[in-house]
């Protein structure tokens, strides 16, 4: 553990409060913080605790882009942050945002990596060298000249880091960088962060998932309702009693010590049978000869690396795409593509694109015209959405939108439910809420398939695993007694 006390301060917060325009309350209040040169700081806490706002105050976006009201004083590298124009802060503080889809400007990797340098007028002769160095540092030679759009989330995150890296800022700010990454990519991100730290950069990460940061961070700050409530060293975090961790609602710091209660299942009714399924895009095979069975009450984690065909399988199961070969049997009957919607419903990862109503209640009404007021209210109460029933779905938080899409799926009530990364960007309490609810649905006899990279969630929720090994092979195994196997499957590419 390094002693940072003698080092110079790079970021100082003195009694800082901040309010977004039009907000009823302050997002953060009375924050005092001193970040030293070369320090690695993690901000954690439940959704809406103010950690993203804190990162936006450091990179200047809160005050100068979102145009909120700040009280107190922030000093960045010895000068008040208000004295810097936003473009000047960008040279000193590099930002990597949560959603890789909406932070890229170019379609080709090198153009994207060069973008920041071009904006700061780096001479033409220097540009290619900077881009090459940034690519080397992310071990990204295979990404040269590639289109960014079809890349995996992990590759996109690498490009985002390289783009910031090329400008060579002193400070790096990451906002939930692991939210869209599989565990293998998280490991690569961890190595990148380690390298940045060893080069002396100051790093601030706002994050729910903490397990990959315990070997890197110098301090963890726990935030609640816009204030810093506690501060821990990695050792203190790792030795925190499980009851306290769950009570304050942060995710596991050590994946080896997760409390699991693997749900049991009655091996009676086969609800879904997939036989020799094959699919290809044009002439490019995605998978072939995939077979498995699912029973009523099953909670199956679908795992495998990006692009192996997990989402495609889900699309085929609910009739959104047509298989090239094979059979899909629901309750023993071969069901054609057009009728599969009646048996399986798919909750996609992108919740914003699945909500169409003018209010939370109307969202349910769209698929439940014959429902009673009482039924709708009960469902909303069960998902903790009742008090927001008049709100427009677009104004809900990420966790609330996720729960609303699940409430809709309850309403549609197909015997098979498929979910794509339901815990992406969720805090512990919301993850637990979803886990408990899915288990309750399975208890009632629903078959649930969950595409996930989230070990903690899969271990807490599922009873079986469907592992896509490669395009021709998939295996299933029970989770009881096989948690190390699940972990190693998630960690290998």
């Amino acid at each position: 553990m390094e002693n940072f006390k003698t080092r110079r301060s790079v970021i100082q917060f003195e009694d800082v409060s901040f309010e977004y325009p039009g907000a009823e309350t302050e997002s953060i209040h009375h924050i005092d913080l001193d970040v030293k040169e070369g320090e690695f700081l993690v901000l954690t806490g439940g959704s809406g605790c103010g950690k993203t706002t804190l990162t936006r105050l450091i990179n200047g976006l809160a005050e100068q882009f979102y145009e909120g009201t700040m009280k107190g004083r922030i000093t960045l590298l010895g000068r008040s942050i208000s004295e810097y124009p936003l473009y000047e802060i960008g040279k000193k503080v590099g930002s990597i945002f949560q959603d890789p889809r909406s932070q890229f400007f170019a379609s080709i990797t090198e153009d994207e990596i060069a973008f920041g340098c071009e904006n700061y007028g780096v001479p033409y002769e220097e540009l290619d060298g900077r881009v090459s160095n940034a690519i080397k540092r992310i071990n990204g030679d295979m990404l040269r000249g590639k289109e960014i759009y079809p890349m995996s989330s992990g590759e996109k995150q690498k490009i985002a880091v390289a783009s910031v890296n090329a400008v060579n800022p002193e400070i790096y700010v990451f906002d939930e960088p692991s939210a869209n990454l599989d565990m293998y990519s998280v490991e690569a991100l961890k190595n990148l962060m380690r390298e940045l730290k060893s080069e002396g950069h100051t790093i601030i990460v706002a994050e729910h998932r903490l397990y990959y940061l315990t070997g890197l961070a110098d301090r963890f700050l726990y935030m609640e309702n816009g204030s810093i409530k506690e501060e821990w060293t990695p050792e203190e975090l790792l030795s925190m009693p499980e009851a306290k961790r769950q009570n304050i609602g942060i995710r596991a710091a050590d994946l080896r010590h997760i409390e699991v209660d693997i749900p049991s299942r009655k091996e009676t009714d086969v609800t879904l049978e997939v036989k020799g399924l094959a699919f290809s895009y044009r002439n490019h095979p995605v998978f072939h000869d995939i077979s498995f069975q699912a029973y009523a009450g099953d909670l199956i984690a679908i795992i495998g690396h990006n692009g192996i065909g997990k989402t495609t399988l889900s699309n085929i199961l609910c009739g959104m795409q047509k298989e090239k070969a094979g059979q899909i049997l629901y309750n023993g009957k071969d069901v054609p593509k057009g009728r599969r919607k009646n048996f399986a419903y798919f909750v996609m990862q992108n919740t914003d694109c699945q909500l169409f109503g003018d209010s939370v209640e109307e969202e349910l009404l769209l698929n439940g015209k014959g429902s009673t007021q009482e039924q709708r209210d009960d469902l909303l109460k069960m998902y903790g959405l009742f008090e927001w029933k008049e709100r427009h779905p677009a104004t809900l938080s990420g966790g609330q939108k996720q729960r609303l899409t699940l409430a809709v799926s309850d309403w549609i009530d197909t015997p098979i439910l498929i979910l794509d990364e339901p815990t992406s960007g969720l805090d512990y309490k919301n993850m637990l809420r979803i886990s408990e609810h899915l288990k309750a649905l399975a208890q009632k006899g629903k078959t649930i398939l969950i595409i996930t990279h989230d070990y903690e969630f899969a271990a807490m929720t599922c009873n079986r695993v469907l592992h896509f090994i490669d395009e021709g092979h998939a295996e299933t195994f029970p989770l009881q007694g096989s948690l190390p196997r699940l972990y190693s499957c998630l960690m290998c590419q």
Partner: protein, 225 residues
């Protein structure tokens, strides 16, 4: 064929196309302009996209011929058919600009001293549309799963499509702008580009051809009218 033109040349073609589309009333002139734009796209290597544009334009031309100036039902009034064809032509003119490296766009705007009020929105727009495109496919997939996409209720279906796309678009636009601002897009100083920005001989030739074609069309329009 894959001729690369400078961003300024492409901008000139867009501006000239917009002015022609706004002024031309003769169907024959519009259809021949479609041919000219197709050649412009093909020489820049957009053959496949050109075929797609021509197919869509062809459908609307046929619909216009069938409608005989009366429109087709309440859903496709004559004005709609008239407008769609012209909008498609503007999109064709803008095709070579979509997907251009942002650094090149910003550097050219700085070089020609374009005001930030024009340069920054155009730069955002170029990235925004490809980003939003994938959102549409997710919206359609979800609507189909929830059985809300119906030809029997086209106005409802339209509302269901537009609502999430608008909200998602505004969020993407905000995130893109935040990302660009934090990467120095508003730097008032010199911007550079890793690709050489040169107005070459072929650009001069293209600009002269574009201006001549535009003048010719204006003259023909007056003659026809």
């Amino acid at each position: 064929m894959n001729i690369k033109f400078d961003f300024r040349t492409k901008l000139l073609v867009i501006v000239l196309t917009m002015s022609l589309v706004a002024v031309l009333t003769s169907d024959i002139l519009i259809y021949t302009l479609l041919g000219v734009l197709s050649v412009y796209l093909i020489i820049q290597g957009f053959g496949r996209q050109t075929i797609k544009y021509l197919i869509v334009c062809g459908v609307f031309i046929v619909l216009r011929l069938i409608s005989g100036g009366q429109g087709i039902t309440i859903l496709m009034p004559e004005m709609f058919l008239f407008m769609v064809l012209r909008i498609l032509m503007m999109v064709m003119a803008a095709q070579p600009v979509i997907g251009m490296p942002p650094g090149e766009v910003v550097a050219v705007f700085k070089k020609i001293h374009a005001p930030d009020g024009i340069a920054l929105p155009v730069t955002f727009m170029l990235r925004f549309f490809p980003t939003v495109r994938s959102e549409f496919s997710d919206v359609f997939a979800s609507l189909r799963l929830r059985k809300l996409l119906s030809w029997k209720h086209p106005l409802d279906a339209m509302e269901y499509i537009v609502t999430p796309v608008i909200f998602r678009s505004s969020r993407i636009a905000e995130e893109l702008a935040a990302s660009a601002e934090s990467r120095g897009i508003s730097n008032p100083g010199k911007h550079t580009c890793r690709r050489k920005i040169e107005f070459q001989k072929r650009d001069w030739i293209m600009c002269v051809i574009a201006v001549c074609v535009t003048v010719l069309y204006f003259v023909l329009e007056r003659t026809v009218a």
